[in-house]
């Protein structure tokens, strides 16, 4: 029982998306059965679905079908038109308009439609509520929901719940579409989905590509199935911790070549390839980190104004030396190191396969990005503190900026608005940068690396980019949290100032930081438990650690497992949940508080070890493509599913519920199977894929098969009490 089982957390990415989809469908079915069991449809509820033809029960099938076709065509045309409009708005940066519209729509859903449904449900179940309470509750519910979904960071879990709620409401409304029209619309939407996402020039594809190009998130409601601190993930994380210990140095023979030296060096993991080795992380998944590293770096770089980018480059190129791990304490490490640590996450694994250079480069570039003020400092060890100080002082401002910019949250990060835009734009101007973002990241990486990385970035899907960050963030956070724990544990070592510094670095840049941490986080997650790592980094906060490392001799150099054990318990479930929750609030916290990231929970996503093990590389959603040597394609850790998919799945099931429950279950199983198929394709192709076609095709097919063959067979069987 010592070694963790493979089954412990295999497939959590998938259940992470299957569970909310199931929940959405279940509630929709419940609502349908509660409020509209007869399947009354109303042409007025969804007007655009009945423009051309109003279904009458008395019409012939042919007429219904023809009318339904017409209706569906119009419906899909409207949807496509809206997508194009959205794309144009996005292209010409009318973010305010997009958000205003989406805010308006979402508010209506949360306030008026939820209210209307709520009243209906209350009537059905014979409960009473006074108007004032209802209005008060609804108003608060809808304001929080609207702000949370679009404008403000809120805890991931509540964001997910709100998203699911939107899906439920809209799906429920869509179940009022007349029957024939509904089925034809479903099929047409699936077809449209294929076209829009896969065909070159399709509106969704264009939108996604534009979003990637701009390093923004899609201006849309997208469910993100990243660990929300829920139970399974917490458990997974626990497993991971153990595993980390158990496996450490596993396949990777050379583990801890610099055992003793290791501790000191580890803080600077990124820069120190040898140190990297001991981390369980490096095991057998060399390539993957590269991918990770690349995207974070990219995103970071993207944000830097031109000059900085240049610096970054310079630094990257030249600073390698500076980041020598052995210079650790007191060296530029303060921030740079830390940053580096972050990148290193990616970087370090790179290190494992390649050389130090890439990591360092990334780290450096990163650093500049982070400290935005003085890129140069990073090369001057002595100034590190000053730099950190400066940075620290800026934190609040920057943070505020961010939050004003609307981009603040780690979780719900709306599309960037003007200011951030400003920051990003310059990039293209950067000598190397711009479109070459990928190249840019790669370059420091050295010859060997560049190719895979580039390929990688090229292939990267929107999912991969966006999805990775939060996760990473969490990891970083985890690391940080561990860091703090360790400090506590040590009883002193970390002067508060240092803690703060690291905080500062981690905090405001929440996003960047996040992106930084791919490996580091993971490593720290695990690594934190790893005595080697822990020592130097001032507590395994590898990521955050850099900072700590900056000043501190190893605090916990004793590699004894006792220390490790002592730390681990700090991550109990509540704490994790709490941490995750705070994690998403970073934009809001007063500067003096430890940035949420620090408090953030480790990404409890337990599967990392697997990835590691299998050579699955892209966990953060960075697509590592096939270069991992992994034998199986792998899914990104955080899978994103457009809310539209939720809606049409649920609409299908809700529609099925108007007929019978047998069709509901059949359609449910079919949709989930289709979703599984889609995810399989996602793992194979590593790009944005339409989620509707498989599921809707299977769902519709199974609905009709069940209705036409299974039911006439099973019902006599059951009523004759014969079973098999």
């Amino acid at each position: 029982m010592a070694t963790p089982s493979l089954l412990d957390d295999l497939g959590e990415e998938v259940t992470g998306i299957v569970a909310p989809v199931s929940l959405c469908m279940a509630v929709t079915v419940l609502l349908v059965r509660l409020l509209n069991p007869e399947g009354v449809s109303s042409s007025n509820t969804v007007l655009i679905a009945s423009i051309a033809y109003q279904e009458q029960a008395s019409d012939s099938s042919g007429k219904k079908f023809g009318g339904a076709l017409l209706n569906a065509l119009i419906f899909v045309a409207v949807v496509a038109g809206m997508t194009v409009v959205l794309f144009l708005l996005f292209k010409y940066k009318c973010y305010k308009f997009i958000f205003a519209y989406m805010g308006f729509a979402v508010f209506n859903i949360f306030f008026f439609i939820t209210g209307a449904l709520f009243i209906q449900v209350m009537q059905v179940i014979d409960l009473h509520i006074d108007a004032f309470s209802l209005a008060y509750g609804l108003f608060n519910f809808s304001i929080v929901g609207t702000l949370g979904l679009l404008f403000m960071p809120i805890p991931l879990l509540s964001k997910q719940v709100y998203l699911i709620w939107v899906g439920i409401i809209v799906a429920y409304i869509f179940t009022f579409i007349p029957e024939w029209t509904a089925w034809v619309i479903l099929c047409f939407m699936a077809l449209y989905d294929i076209v829009a996402v896969l065909v070159p020039g399709g509106p969704l594809k264009a939108l996604v590509e534009l979003a990637i190009e701009r390093q923004q998130e899609l201006p849309a409601l997208i469910y993100e199935a990243r660990p929300a601190g829920g139970r399974p993930y917490v458990r997974g994380w626990g497993n991971r911790g153990q595993r980390g210990e158990g496996e450490e140095g596993g396949p990777e023979g050379p583990a801890g070549p610099d055992g003793p030296g290791g501790p000191a060096a580890n803080g600077a993991v990124p820069a120190a390839p040898p140190n990297v080795v001991p981390s369980p992380h490096a095991n057998g998944r060399g390539p993957r980190p590269v991918a990770e590293a690349s995207s974070p770096a990219a995103s970071l770089e993207m944000r830097q104004p031109t000059t900085r980018a240049v610096h970054g480059q310079g630094a990257a190129a030249g600073a390698g030396a500076v980041f020598d791990p052995y210079e650790a304490p007191g060296s530029p490490g303060g921030t740079g190191r830390r940053r580096a640590g972050g990148v290193s996450g990616g970087g370090w694994a790179q290190a494992a396969t390649t050389r130090v250079a890439p990591a360092v480069g990334a780290g450096a570039a990163d650093f500049t990005g982070q400290t935005q003020v003085q890129p140069m400092r990073l090369s001057m060890a002595g100034e590190a503190d000053a730099a950190m100080e400066a940075q620290w002082q800026q934190q609040p401002q920057r943070r505020r900026q961010r939050s004003q910019g609307g981009g603040a949250g780690s979780g719900p990060r709306p599309v960037a608005e003007g200011r951030e835009q400003g920051e990003w734009q310059p990039l293209p101007a950067a000598p190397e940068g711009g479109a070459a973002g990928a190249a840019l990241r790669v370059r420091p990486g050295g010859p060997g690396l560049s190719e895979p990385v580039a390929a990688d970035s090229g292939r990267s899907s929107p999912r991969s980019h966006t999805s990775m960050e939060p996760l990473l963030n969490q990891r970083a956070a985890a690391a940080a949290a561990l860091d703090r724990d360790l400090k506590d544990f040590d009883g002193a070592a970390g002067p508060s100032s240092r803690g703060r510094v690291s905080n500062s670095s981690a905090g405001p840049q929440g996003r960047e930081m996040r992106s930084l941490q791919p490996g580091a986080g993971a490593s720290s997650g695990k690594g934190a438990l790893d005595p080697y790592l822990r020592g130097p980094s001032g507590g395994g906060g590898v990521a955050a650690a850099g900072g700590a490392a900056g000043g501190d001799p190893p605090r916990l150099t004793n590699p004894g497992t006792m220390g490790v054990r002592a730390v681990a318990p700090a991550f109990d479930a509540e704490r994790l949940a709490e941490a995750v929750r705070r994690n998403t609030l970073d934009g809001e916290l007063p500067a003096s508080e430890p940035p949420p990231q620090l408090a953030g929970a480790p990404p409890p996503d337990g599967h990392h070890p697997h990835h590691r093990g299998h050579g699955h590389h892209h966990d953060g959603g960075a697509d590592g493509g096939g270069e991992g040597g992994g034998d199986l394609p792998d899914l990104p850790d955080s899978i994103k599913l457009g809310l539209g998919d939720f809606i049409f799945y649920s609409m299908l099931v809700g529609r099925a519920a108007m007929y019978d429950f047998m069709t509901v279950f059949a359609a449910y199983l079919a949709i989930i199977a289709g979703l599984g198929l889609t995810l399989l394709c996602l793992a194979v192709f590593q790009k944005a894929l339409p989620a509707l076609p498989f599921s809707i095709a299977l769902g519709v097919a199974f609905y009709f098969l069940t209705r036409l063959t299974l039911e006439p067979f099973l019902i006599p069987l059951a009523t004759n009490l014969a079973f098999f």
Partner: protein, 240 residues
């Protein structure tokens, strides 16, 4: 009536749900495997129903139903061999992954997976034979058949779900074990037990037959569950 609904629901599916929460829901992979298994068995049900689509409704006498049950069980047993094949492929893949990652993937894990396969089978049958019809009990009234005045159709369905949930889950585990050890006697016994259980329900065509058949089926389910638990226990001991 809600009381009927919930009473029958928990009678028929409660143990299965508890089992799911305690054992399967803890591991994502098992959940997915059970879902896939349920989907597969739904396909099989659709296939069987498609075959008999031309003949339904069968005349409600024991003869046609005997043939239909025999054929259905035969198809299911054939598919069970197919699931064993899938199971083996999955095991090989996972074995490789485990080796690569240094994870444990032992006999116990394989048993878990076999259980998930079986659970999917049992759950699929319970859902489509019983749960699909259960919402009818929320209305006023119920349904009895003449041959079984003691229990409503829904109560029989609940007992069926209970019994066959255990039977099908256990049989899958036992059958996979038999296949793995190339012990075809066990495999044959599994098929015979499945046939036997199915034919037991034919007793319901006799007047008052359900009073005999349903308790016997539940007892058979308990027996098989006990056997499976013992089997797993033994394997678990060895594995350790």
């Amino acid at each position: 009536m809600p009381i009927d609904f919930f009473g029958l629901f928990f009678l028929g599916l409660g143990p299965g749900i508890a089992f799911f929460i305690v054992l399967i829901a803890r591991k994502s992979f098992l959940v997915l495997l059970a879902l896939f298994s349920a989907f597969l068995w739904l396909v099989v049900l659709l296939f069987i129903s498609a075959i008999f689509r031309a003949f339904v409704p069968l005349s409600p006498t024991i003869g046609p139903y005997t043939g239909m049950l025999a054929a259905s069980v035969f198809i299911e047993e054939a598919v069970r061999y197919g699931t064993w094949w899938l199971h083996r492929v999955t095991l090989n893949t996972l074995d490789g992954m485990a080796r690569a990652s240094g994870h444990r993937f032992g006999l116990l894990d394989k048993l878990y997976m076999a259980v998930a396969w079986g659970y999917g089978h049992g759950a699929c049958h319970a859902v489509f034979f019983f749960l699909s019809l259960l919402p009818l009990t929320t209305g006023d009234g119920t349904l009895y058949v003449a041959e079984c005045p003691q229990m409503s159709v829904f109560l029989v369905g609940a007992l069926y779900s209970l019994a066959f949930g255990m039977i099908l889950t256990s049989l899958t585990v036992i059958a996979f074990d038999g296949y793995m050890n190339k012990n075809y006697l066990v495999v044959a016994a599994v098929a015979l037990l499945h046939w036997g259980a199915a034919f037991l329900t034919l007793l319901n065509f006799q007047r008052d037959g359900c009073v005999v058949s349903m308790p016997v089926l539940v007892a058979l389910g308990l027996l098989l569950t006990g056997y499976t638990v013992a089997l797993c226990w033994k394997k678990g001991q060895v594995a350790r």
